[in-house]
Subunit: 204 residues, 2 copies
DNA sequence: CAGTAAAATGACTGCTCAGTCATTTTGTTG
DNA sequence: CAACAAAATGACTGAGCAGTCATTTTACTG
């Protein structure tokens, strides 16, 4: 009997789905798509293999779901932080900060994210276009800010699309360094480093 | 009977090895480590599967050899270009240019390279440490140049290690954009874009 | 608490593929 | 060109694993 539009079934579904997604994230992060087995994921979620197939149609689908979940979460955080009508300068800093902090908090997700999104959307299987779109969405938020800054004469005339991606790449690089243990600095210091470099690079 | 220190056997070995490496590069690039089969590689090289095992002990070894070949080649080109005792400014530009051009010429290699080196050295199997070292070697060449620039007061006081990696990341980003067809600009223009951004970011 | 339905299980199947090795082909040498 | 050796071949084996489904467990209901 439906309550609040959700049947009992839906609730269970939601719970199991979230549980499996978290397990999947861990396992895919540790072993990569191919080396991870559905058994592994099931075990990590504390269920039997067959159960996985009650909620997802294939291993591939689990993977996509895990990826989508993280990308969406990250994008939402970025949107939330940049929505405030602050100065372009502050928005850019916020973008850098939120992204670095997201991966600091979700270390295991970074492998999944960057092994797809970072290196060309092609390896395991051609990713559905929507993932590419979601990634570019981030860059577009940044791009809009850059354009705003240019209009306000705070930022010089740069190719905004390329610049936006460049900032994303710098952030990506710092995240990799941090997660590999190459960077010993505290988060704030790394955020400032990136922002500083970028701002000198693009300010008018 | 050895001639010039090379036996006949060595010559064949060298030839086959090169042939297999080229095939491996193509196949691994297209399918990724796990999805690529030894059959695929053999077929691409125009030999039978068993032959691959006459020259390499395992699929993993073929992969490492292909990766090492490319990294070495790239590093050599970088070394050659930066060796000239030019101004730091020119050396940095040269670094950017040579790397972008290398991947422009070796498009298939970029997938192999970045799926390892770019995303944290961990997926298929823990890479031997020497690969990590070879990668960092590039950054160190750049770092030396940055330090030189700082001494000459042409570059401001930045964390040289982080800055060197940041430049590498920017270059990486442009390469990805180019190979995915996101960047429509000509190579020169992209090189200038990166250099410009970097130079404003770090110059004194 | 019996009867029923939903959910979970894990043994099983079929397929893919890395790596092996007995056989065949190619090349060398006197 | 015979006798031998080096190189190449590809059919075969064993392991691993995605996905299925008959059976069992759990939860709900009257």
């Amino acid at each position: 009997m439906p309550v609040l539009g959700k049947t009992r079934k839906d609730v269970i579904r939601e719970f199991r789905t979230a549980e499996l997604l978290e397990a999947a994230r861990k396992v895919f992060a540790k072993r990569g798509f191919h080396a991870a087995t559905v058994e592994d994921i099931a075990a990590a979620a504390g269920v039997a293999k067959g159960t996985v197939y009650l909620y997802y149609r294939s291993k591939q689908e689990v993977y996509w779901a895990a990826l989508e979940h993280g990308i969406t979460e990250l994008l939402d955080e970025i949107r939330a932080t940049m929505a405030a009508d602050a100065a372009p300068e502050d928005k850019i800093r916020a973008f850098i900060a939120v992204k670095i902090r997201y991966f600091e908090r979700n270390r295991d997700f970074f492998r999944i994210y960057f092994s797809e999104v970072g290196s060309g959307f092609k390896h395991p299987v051609q990713l559905p276009r929507r993932f590419e779109a979601m990634y570019l969405q981030q860059a577009r938020l940044l791009e809009a800010t850059l354009q705003q800054g240019i209009r306000r004469k705070q930022i010089r005339e740069v190719r905004t699309d390329t610049a936006a991606l460049a900032i994303s790449d710098l952030v990506r690089g710092i995240i990799v360094q941090r997660l590999l243990g190459w960077s010993k600095k505290d988060v704030e210091s790394d955020i400032s480093f990136v922002f500083d470099l970028v701002w000198r690079g693009i300010s008018a």
